[in-house]
């Protein structure tokens, strides 16, 4: 398989995972959160309703932002917002990482070029 086709196919898989399959992901607290919740009771919405646990010391996120918690703040539908947030995230990470690694590789070539000169 050609590299360009491989990258395109891989990107489509990542978009499908983040924009589609992620909607069916478990919404239970993850390993870290569940241990930090030990000692507390939680309500149906997952919020702490009583008891004493390490997670109570967690503050509000410092930034928050329109994509906070993998949703889009101005879209009411959790399904649509979650799906779009996943797609936006994948495209953003793809562009950012490719850009950063390209700069890194380019710096290397420039460095090698000046070394030969």
């Amino acid at each position: 398989m050609k590299t360009s086709r491989f990258v395109l196919f891989g990107a489509l898989v990542a978009l499908a995972l983040a924009g589609g399959l992620a909607l069916f992901a478990s919404s239970s607290p993850d390993g870290l959160e569940s241990v930090m919740l030990e000692g507390c009771q939680t309500g149906a919405d997952g919020e702490i309703s009583g008891g004493e646990c390490a997670l109570q010391q967690a503050g509000e996120h410092e930034i928050g932002g329109p994509l906070a918690d993998y949703g889009i703040s101005f879209i009411d539908s959790e399904t649509l917002g979650g799906s779009l947030a996943g797609i936006v995230g994948v495209l953003l990470v793809l562009a950012l990482a490719t850009g950063l690694f390209w700069l890194l590789a380019r710096g290397r070539r420039a460095g090698a070029g000046s070394g030969e000169a």
Partner: protein, 232 residues
């Protein structure tokens, strides 16, 4: 709906500890930038970008590991197997940075600790296990699948041990440190098995289509020459 993924939020670990780990993360990531640059062929750039985007997507897929408890991929083993330890650390660091700054997943204050645990510890430990296991099992595809699975479990458990260390230094909980450590490590063995299954499938799929793109299979061969042969 609660968060899809949860890294260390701000407030759980004290500020001094967070800052020390922030400094450690900055130093190690800096070393990785220098080391990764040496082996970074321009043709590898889109693949490294793709691996990073894939890890971001896969981290959203929380799978159940016990009643009411989920886990998600960290991605260190995948990055290590496909891109090697240096570039691998950078991929996971980009993911964790984007999550903390744009998706409110993981505190900004806790960014250093999240990078040390999930990007640095998990990738380096996974790479060490892959290298060792491939020496024992041989550089075959079956050997690779088994090596990647073992590396995933080891990488995830080691990352969670990093959290236990940070919590021991700067955290407070009603239960004893031993109880926290036991609970964290045991649940991450289960998460590691999930990570192992996903990573083994993903790396094996890449090895079947484009074995030249699997860093762990490259050995001492130069990537440039093998890429040219395969893509013609």
């Amino acid at each position: 709906m609660s968060e899809l993924a949860l890294h260390i939020p701000n407030g759980i670990i004290g500020i001094p500890t967070s800052l020390v780990f922030g400094l450690i993360a900055a130093i190690v990531v800096g070393v990785c930038v220098v080391a990764a640059r040496r082996g970074l062929d321009e043709r590898l750039v889109p693949l490294a970008g793709l691996a990073t985007a894939f890890i971001f997507a896969a981290q959203m897929l929380n799978f159940p590991v016990a009643a009411g408890v989920s886990g998600h991929l960290l991605g260190g083993a995948l990055a290590a197997a496909l891109l090697g330890p240096w570039l691998g650390v950078l991929c996971v660091t980009v993911v964790i940075g984007v999550q903390a700054l744009l998706f409110a997943d993981g505190g900004v204050t806790a960014l250093g600790m999240n990078v040390v645990n999930m990007a640095v510890i998990s990738t380096f430990v996974a790479y060490g296990v892959i290298a060792l296991a491939l020496k024992i099992l041989g550089r075959t595809r079956t050997g690779l699948t088994a090596a990647v699975f073992a590396a995933s479990v080891a990488g995830v458990v080691a990352a969670s041990a990093g959290f236990v260390l940070e919590f021991a230094i700067g955290g407070e909980a009603p239960q004893s440190l031993g109880e926290v450590a036991g609970a964290i490590l045991s649940v991450h063995v289960l998460i590691g098995v999930g990570e192992g299954l996903i990573t083994a499938v993903a790396v094996t799929a890449v090895a079947l289509t484009r074995p030249d793109l699997v860093y762990a299979l490259r050995g001492s061969r130069l990537l440039g020459t093998s890429l040219e042969k395969e893509t013609v």
